[in-house]
Symmetry: D2
Subunit: 122 residues, 4 copies
């Protein structure tokens, strides 16, 4: 048995926040990167996602220490991995605001996407 609920601005803000983080992850992980190019990749990812609907703002930070740790092979570059990403995303849908993050969680050994805060503009 289930009860059906109407769909609110808050619901849509959360759904859209998820879409953006899922998109970011699967579009850009795998990109070749090293310490000289990490900054242009951060900027391009943030700007790319920022053009999508309902994004108020987004910050993208890639873990340089982890890049450095990956550069032990002889080729001098690695790939962007989910665990390198630290993303803070603010979404607005109507009067609903959602802050969501993607950040590597060491206990779970997992690049965790998480709702940080939901608020209403009043």
């Amino acid at each position: 048995m289930s009860t059906v609920n109407s769909i609110t601005e808050r619901d849509n803000a959360l759904f859209e926040a998820g879409i953006k983080l899922g998109a970011l992850y699967h579009q850009f992980t795998g990109s070749p990167v090293n310490l000289k190019t990490v900054q242009s990749l951060e900027k391009a990812i943030a700007e790319s996602i920022s053009v999508q609907p309902f994004v108020e703002n987004i910050s993208v930070r890639i873990d340089r220490d982890l890049i450095r740790a990956r550069l032990n092979n002889e080729f001098g570059y690695c790939e962007l991995e989910g665990r390198m990403l630290d993303v803070v995303l603010n979404m607005r849908y109507g009067n609903a605001m959602v802050k969501a993050t993607m950040r590597f969680n060491r206990e779970l050994d997992y690049p965790l996407m998480k709702i940080e805060e939901i608020s209403d503009i009043v």
Copy 2:
């Protein structure tokens, strides 16, 4: 001014639904495809997304007519485009259920991701 709200199972179900659709879109669009291979691509996409957390079930349908329309070039294949996808996704987070879809919207000329239904298991 804003008021802060606590985060519910419903919120998480919606956020997770968005993640899956954003991931699906940006992971698999661009894949080479033709009419002989469309079925294995549909199956792989559905199975791939189904292993992610909180997915109850997912169906993926790729528009054969649109593939056919793209095959006018001399190479006999095209790429998977967002507008070819018809996806129905059911998510469960605790007692919250969300049904979400991705489907090409002709009026908007856009592969629209949409919350179709939110319900509680009681």
Copy 3:
């Protein structure tokens, strides 16, 4: 100083072989996968790349042991990584044949793409 050379079928066969392996890698790595879904992913990757120009045949094998090793997190799935892939690709351009592979190289700690054999159909 350099000397310019004319472009042969052999040259094109090698160039096209590289295109296919680069495409495969960057299209499909990152796909969610587990032991139940690995077979449909292998099949979809092989069929997808097979529709591209000049591909005679392709085999794609994903390392189940490495998937198993990645499933230590609580979520029961992982992502397709380059090092999981074992690909054998045969290309034909005119009378030139190229066999190329992508295979994890333990010494280099790198998913190496390599020309295995070049031959002419006589």
Copy 4:
């Protein structure tokens, strides 16, 4: 019947050139973009591919007119498509140099990857 040939620096330069163009295409097409963000995406793509082995230099240009043509929907952005890309890539493997391009070919209606020049450093 076939005859087997030994593998030269020229062969490897061509194979590696193909890898880079295939990688570029399937890594970055699908990225959300508009006229304000196109420059950072161009820069990130060029820098990302430039870190890979054997790349001497690369230039990436995205067609602003085509972006403009795609912005008719109500959302104010589009996705990077293969046909928007104009890429010039110079590779070096030992003493072999290869210049390769990816450029939309209107007659074929196809984003064509092509060997432009092969030369030896003498």
